[in-house]
Amino acid sequence: MTVLPYLVAGWILLAGLYGLVTSRNLVQAVGCLAVAQSSTYVLLLAVGYRRDATAPVFSDLPTDAPVVDPVVQALALTDIVVGATVTALLLSLVIQLRKRHGTVDPEELTGLRG
């Protein structure tokens, strides 16, 4: 139990990378990259978890209550937003690639063409 979350994070990263390197479709590759990125959220939140503690929101909590680590949650939040923007930018590159080269299969993109 004490290492399971970390191993799950590692597994998700490897699964995403496997999908990425065996991909035959760039749109699917971008999806696999999103999977690989989601491992970082799991890792961050696993590091910050504390047993028998609540979320770091003190609206209706005494100020000395034990809470989970808010720093990693803030990092994960940033991570998610940046991940979404990277996905969007890569997908627009894929659309552009399809327009100029007529394919989204990385195997068929052998050389640079003007």
Binding site: G31, V35, Y41, Y49, V57, A84, I95
Partner: protein, 94 residues
Amino acid sequence: MTDTLIVIALLLTATAATAAALTRDPVRQAVVLALLGLSLAVLFTVLQAPDVALSQLGVGSAITPLLILLTVRKVNRRETQPQEGDDDRPDRAE
């Protein structure tokens, strides 16, 4: 009790992630990615991170799959395109 929930959520997330990485068809992958986003949101909720869960719910299970579906629609359309449709008239006014 909480530990059991966390283990279930972790295994659910790992399964969904593996399925998403192994799905070859981008349209199906978008659906599996939405499921992955949902299971990640559940995991973050049991890990006491409601802020992150909310943003994962919005981004991971709505925006990212939608972007992928739109890209697939754009990328796959050209094969079926050159038909003489009357809705194909140019519209420069916009």
